[in-house]
Symmetry: C2
Subunit: 116 residues, 2 copies
Amino acid sequence: MPLQDQIRKGSTEILILKLLAEEPMYGYQISHELQRRSGGYFEMKEGLLYPTLHRMAHDGLLKSEWREAGTARRRKYYAITEKGHRALSEQIKEWHTFIGNLLQVLDVPAGAKTPG
Amino acid sequence: MPLQDQIRKGSTEILILKLLAEEPMYGYQISHELQRRSGGYFEMKEGLLYPTLHRMAHDGLLKSEWREAGTARRRKYYAITEKGHRALSEQIKEWHTFIGNLLQVLDVPAGAKTPG
DNA sequence: GATAGTACATAGAATACTTATGCATAGGTA
DNA sequence: TACCTATGCATAAGTATTCTATGTACTATC
């Protein structure tokens, strides 16, 4: 995978991994928790969230289980796996590298150019 | 356009705008300059670069002109427009907001959760 | 004359994301 | 009763970005 690698996937995967690294959550909860923590900035639509969760589970980053909740609807809880933890560390590193390089190109003053 | 807006476009557009805000460049030069400044990190492939330049010119962010260069091949120089300058400022703001929100969710410790 | 570098360009495939829709349960209200 | 909203999971179709591959053409070098 070339160029910005994980970055192309947007922030979706890393945000999900981060939340689930704290505790297992179900889809609807992930969506709301993300909005809450970002002051409404991150709005993960269902059409993106659920397919992504499925893919990540298929890739072994997450595992899922249904839980009954008394009166409420049943919920599908997702938990992070060992592989998911490693992917999270890796993606955090990659994001920091990406952000570092981006800011470098954006903020380096024009006078810093080398001849050539 | 919802969610991360410009961010979905990746870093392509903002990086091009930033370089051209310094001086007009031609495609091949943009590609190499980008690699140089990022220590090889940003590799903008031709299949992405040229269509993006065309789109941005079509959108009025850039304007282009052919220049003959003596013995060498003719080159198509791109320059940033007023609209391009405004887009650059806007996208820099949006990227900072995005990065801020991303880092907030990634770095806030689990203990910082609010009840409810 | 074969290879590599410069320089622009497009076609087709892969993938992420959006929009729209569907099913199902529960609670409020008019 | 009927309607709306919220919860909760899911998929299909469309859009946009990016990747891979390829083509053309000129120059320099071995």
